[in-house]
């Protein structure tokens, strides 16, 4: 039986208005690349927040690596979060820190700073994303695509078992977006990392996905392979595909 890294059961999350996620169920096995599709505001990013323990559900259970993250305190969440790499929508790089300091942030925050490990991992991760020569730049001096790749390098420190990507290609031109997707693919191929990629860009989803889900009004309305999604004749999916093709 394949190990399950993530299990969301009957999750409900709201922010005062109608629930963003409603009776939401999702199971992600190890080493799978899951692409989460949906319109803006459909609850995709909220789902990532719930997996990381940044957002607490009002109802339901969120299990990550067998731990109920919805029931853990911030401190208890540390070991779980240490196994997760998160790439935020706009990179969320720390403005006042250099690229190297951003990438090695997790290592610098250890109770005992290991300078050798810092140098080794920063160099290794920056080389992986092809930005080793940018280590001394500040985030403000990078392009959008470079910021995204630095954010990926930062998330890779500590070799996480699970990578979460929130709209990794939004706002990028097709060539830069393809470079970012290549990195995401290589992470899966070289490290066997479980990945969840939130996007609304369908053509990129086909490029990296093992599995696709489509969220509408806080619920999963499609769950299957990219091929099955391409062939689905449900009117909403057909409309979603056609909107993306335009």
């Amino acid at each position: 039986m394949t190990a399950v890294d993530i299990d969301l059961r009957n999750v409900e999350i709201g922010f005062g208005g109608p629930p963003v996620l409603h009776e939401f169920n999702l199971s992600v096995p190890s080493s799978q690349t899951l692409v989460v599709l949906g319109e803006s505001g459909s609850g995709k990013s909220t789902m990532l927040g719930a997996i990381l323990g940044l957002i607490r559900p009002q109802r339901g259970e969120v299990e990550v690596f067998g731990e109920r993250v919805d029931a853990l305190s911030e401190r208890q969440l540390h070991p779980v979060r240490a196994r997760i790499g998160m790439v935020f929508q706009y990179g969320a790089l720390f403005d006042s820190e250099t690229v190297a300091e951003n990438v090695g942030f997790r290592i610098r925050q250890q109770p005992r700073f290991d300078a050798a490990r810092f140098e080794r991992e920063v160099q290794e991760k920056l080389e992986f994303v092809g930005l080793a020569e940018f280590r001394d730049r500040l985030p403000g001096e990078l392009s959008g695509g470079q910021k995204k790749r630095v954010a990926i390098a930062r998330a890779l420190v500590g070799d996480p078992a699970l990578m979460l990507y929130d709209e990794p290609t939004t706002g990028l031109d097709p060539i830069t977006a393809r470079k970012v997707l290549e990195v995401i693919r290589r992470i899966r191929e070289e490290f066997g990392t479980t990945s969840i990629v939130v996007t609304h860009e369908l053509h990129y989803a086909y490029y990296i996905a093992d599995r696709v889900i489509l969220i509408r009004n806080g619920r999963v309305v499609f769950d299957g392979t990219p091929e099955a999604f391409r062939a689905a004749d449900d009117p909403y999916i057909v409309e979603f595909r056609s909107m993306e093709a335009e």
Partner: protein, 260 residues
């Protein structure tokens, strides 16, 4: 929403209670994180510079002009009662007990508090705070604690500086405009300066520093929305901090009076 329109004060006090609660929890978390390693030394040193060194010029101007105005106003008022010779005492007492700590705090609320709120607000809306949490770092330790400690150290020092510059401003007016001798002015300051006044002023500035840092960080971390939210929280931080400084000034003055 309807209830808020009908009962705007209810909504106001509800929000105030919520925000006070958030600020207190944040402050508690920041203080509890002091023993946690690693201590955020680099952000702390940076904040010492931001809050202290970069405030010198504005505090210099504030202190100088306050001292000069006090000298002129004091001279006019005291002359009516034949007490012009007490001008040094009046300047010293007004500056050390009241105007030095309060004006330095208000200036710092406008400069440093606004900076804290806008910086943290920007970090919230650009998900940098979420990234800190995702990497297992407590934003209260990494962002709030260095700012709080830096201001607790720097505002009392800035207050001493404001007092010194204010006395110098008074000296300029007294000696070069009101024809007092330097020796007379210095002696009147020496005679009227008491350790109680100095300590009282420093106690005030310490309390004000805690208020400004806590409110500004808390308001900044509560930013919701896009860039317009950053502008909103910045204004809010300055307004609330300034009002709370004036309110706390009254309370601390009352307390000091009781203890004296």
């Amino acid at each position: 929403m309807k209830r808020d329109v009908v009962d705007p004060f209810g909504a106001f006090f509800r929000n105030l209670l919520q925000e006070t609660g958030f600020a207190m929890v944040m402050l508690g978390g920041a203080l509890r994180s002091i023993p946690t390693r690693p201590f955020p030394l680099r952000p702390f040193i940076k904040q010492l510079e931001q809050a202290g060194v970069r405030s010198f010029s504005i505090i210099f101007l504030t202190g100088l002009f306050t001292g000069m105005v006090l000298a002129y106003q004091g001279a006019i008022t005291l002359e009516r009662f034949g007490g012009k010779s007490l001008i040094g005492n009046a300047i010293t007492a007004s500056l050390l007990k009241e105007l030095g700590p309060v004006l330095a705090a208000l200036m710092v609320a406008g400069r440093v508090g606004a900076g804290y709120a806008s910086e943290l607000g920007t970090m919230v809306v650009t998900e940098q705070v979420a990234a800190l949490r995702a990497f297992g770092t407590d934003p209260r330790q990494f962002l709030v604690l260095p700012r709080l400690l830096a201001l607790l150290i720097m505002l009392p020092l800035l207050t001493v500086y404001a007092n010194a510059v204010g006395l110098f401003g008074g000296y300029l007016v007294c000696v070069y405009s009101l024809d007092f001798s330097t020796l007379y002015y210095l002696r009147s300051i020496e005679e009227s300066m008491t350790s109680q006044d100095v300590i009282g002023g420093l106690v005030k500035s310490f309390v004000f520093a805690g208020i400004i840092a806590t409110i500004s960080c808390s308001v900044g971390l509560n930013a919701r929305g896009g860039s317009e939210a950053v502008g909103r929280v910045t204004t809010r931080a300055v307004v609330i901090s300034s009002i709370m400084v004036l309110f706390a000034d009254f309370l601390v003055t009352r307390l000091l009076y009781v203890f004296q």
